[in-house]
């Protein structure tokens, strides 16, 4: 195995009763990389994280973390990884300081030994260090959980939906923290349902219904978008949506904020013909422009196949 590999997953599958949570998942992450698992709730993200952090066993396939097998070397892995589960899992009745000390002690280290790693994050919650974790705000809980996951200086950090339900400003702050952790050489596997966070990862896997739709850098995924993509605006957006969908050459049409995104097979339709059709259907102030797809466009296109 390549010594630069932090996580390696080979044909991992997992079933719960009849539901296939993961189907033949394979990927590798390099050391020091931020690798994003991007997909909606129920896609299998948490199951994958629980297998890699040795909390549950896969039905099939093999996986290694930092070179150790998730089944035979689970004890070694547990020493080396930091895990922030989706649900807040610190001790609510312990204070901020006590939680941090507790996690350091469990891993046979001290807060002082690795303070440099968490300093920037911890300083933001230090004024509340005598407050019980259960009494912290959502944003502060998230920061404390990250500190606790980092205090033993893990080589791989697993963050399961760290930004779900968090407002847009706090989400940005959290990603800034991850970028600075990356510079310290920690590999980060992070999952999120927010497609706009994909561009902040080095590489991403798009996941839906237990399957990876694609693995690549966000840029390459966008580059591989096979259809022509236009944005269309007009005065009556709900009617515009219906009329666009009624047009045979249009493969898909979805609302995207203040415009509709329309996909067309390359060369199947021109903007002029489309505009003429829309004007004929009574639309005013019609504006059509060609745009570069977002990761969300790619996700939708891939899941429509």
């Amino acid at each position: 195995m390549n010594t630069d590999t932090a996580i390696q997953c080979q044909s991992i599958s997992k079933k719960y009763d009849k539901i296939e949570a993961l189907k033949d998942i394979s990927f590798e992450t390099e050391k020091g990389e931020i690798f994003g698992i991007i997909g909606p709730d129920g896609a299998g993200k948490t199951t994958l994280f629980r297998i890699l952090t040795t909390l549950i066993l896969a039905d099939n396939g093999t996986a290694t973390v930092d070179g150790f097998d998730v089944v035979t070397d689970y004890k070694e892995i547990r020493k080396r990884v930091g895990y922030m589960p989706g649900r807040f899992s610190l001790y609510q009745d312990l204070t901020v300081e006590e939680n941090l000390n507790f996690f350091a002690t469990v891993f046979n280290t001290t807060v002082e030994a690795n303070y440099a790693l968490i300093k920037d994050i911890y300083q933001q919650i230090e004024p509340f260090k005598t407050r019980r974790a259960g009494k912290l705000s959502g944003g502060m809980k998230q920061k404390l959980a990250l500190c606790c996951a980092l205090i033993h200086k893990p080589s791989v950090l697993f963050l399961d939906e760290p930004t779900t339900g968090v407002d847009a400003v706090s989400r940005k702050e959290f990603w800034d923290m991850l970028q600075s952790l990356k510079t310290q050489g920690i590999t980060i596997l992070v999952s999120t349902p927010y497609m706009d966070e994909a561009s902040l990862c080095d590489r991403i896997a798009l996941i839906k219904d237990g399957e990876f739709l694609k693995i690549d850098t966000p840029k390459n995924i966008v580059k591989q978008f096979e259809k022509t993509l236009w944005i269309v605006q007009g005065d009556n957006m709900p009617k515009l949506l219906k009329d666009l969908r009624a047009m045979q050459q249009i493969k898909s049409c979805y609302a995207f904020g203040d415009s509709h995104h329309v996909t067309v097979e390359k060369g199947e339709l021109t903007m002029d013909i489309l505009k003429e059709y829309l004007v004929k259907n009574g639309h005013s102030n019609v504006c059509i422009q060609s745009i570069v797809p977002t990761v969300e466009d790619c996700f939708m296109e891939l899941s429509n196949r």
Binding site: P40, G42, S137, G138, G165, D167, V169, Y254, G257, D258
Partner: protein, 254 residues
């Protein structure tokens, strides 16, 4: 109940200087706004800005410390029970009972809102057709994918034809295609005259609203159509508007 006056009223929500204090902490600080009938009103703000507290008052679940307001024609300080009968509510966290079947959930909610059995039966059939849900009718809700569940939850929240429906982060974690189908259901509801009051962390969804308010530290810092807000803040999208305003926040959520 004087329904005639209610249905002629242009505003389905009116609040003036609405305030809620918890001890020394002012969660909602003298906010004033109106929501027009049939409008989609986006209620945005950072975590801890006071959105949930304000929404609880508007839904008749909490009594304001100060200010006044009407929801669906009833006083928020004195007529909470009447408000509850005239609104719908759904959130990401709680929407339907997992251990009840699809039709059982509908019957339960219809019954709670005092609908007649015959109307519940008729409307259930209509809804199953509209959502193409005939095969799901007898399934337990917990067996449905999240996106499907959320679409059903929204339909149940407006099943009794409320004047206004409150949606608290209805699309969190929902896949991108279903998220858009969900908004199309919202458009259909407003076409029937139902007013929609919605919170979301997806800034592209703010663009679907007729008007948007942004709360920062208990106060409404901006309120206008997405287009006007973008002009006002010289932003290309609502995310930039939000970032400019919410960055000023000094408090986090509780």
């Amino acid at each position: 109940m004087n329904r005639k006056i209610l249905h002629n009223a242009d505003e389905v929500i009116i609040v003036e200087n609405l305030t809620k204090k918890f001890g020394n902490f002012t969660a909602v600080d003298a906010i004033s706004f109106e929501v027009k009938r049939g409008e989609i009103f986006g209620f945005l703000g950072a975590n801890g800005a006071g959105k949930t507290t304000a929404m609880r008052i508007l839904c008749g679940l909490s009594i304001p410390s100060g200010g006044k307001g009407m929801v669906a024609g009833y006083d928020i300080a004195h007529e909470q029970e009447k408000i509850k009968k005239n609104i719908g509510y759904m959130s990401q966290k709680f929407s339907l009972y997992d251990d009840l079947k699809v039709w059982e959930n509908i019957e339960l909610f219809g019954g709670i809102y005092g609908m007649k059995d015959i109307d519940i039966k008729r409307k259930t059939n209509e809804l199953m057709l509209q959502l193409q849900f005939e095969n799901e009718r007898d399934k337990l809700v917990k067996s449905l994918p999240l996106g499907v569940k959320q679409k059903l939850a929204f339909s149940v929240a407006i099943f009794h034809n409320p004047q206004v429906v409150f949606l608290d982060e209805p699309t969190g974690g929902v896949d991108p295609i279903t998220r858009r189908q969900f908004w199309e259901l919202i458009y259909d509801a407003t076409a029937k005259g139902i007013t929609v009051f919605v919170t979301t962390h997806y800034m592209d969804e703010a663009e679907y609203c007729d008007r948007v308010s942004i709360m920062v530290d208990g106060k409404i810092e901006a309120l206008d159509s997405p287009k006007n807000l973008k002009n006002q803040f010289q932003a290309t999208n609502m995310n930039e508007v939000f970032q400019q305003l919410a960055r000023k926040a000094t408090r986090a959520d509780s």
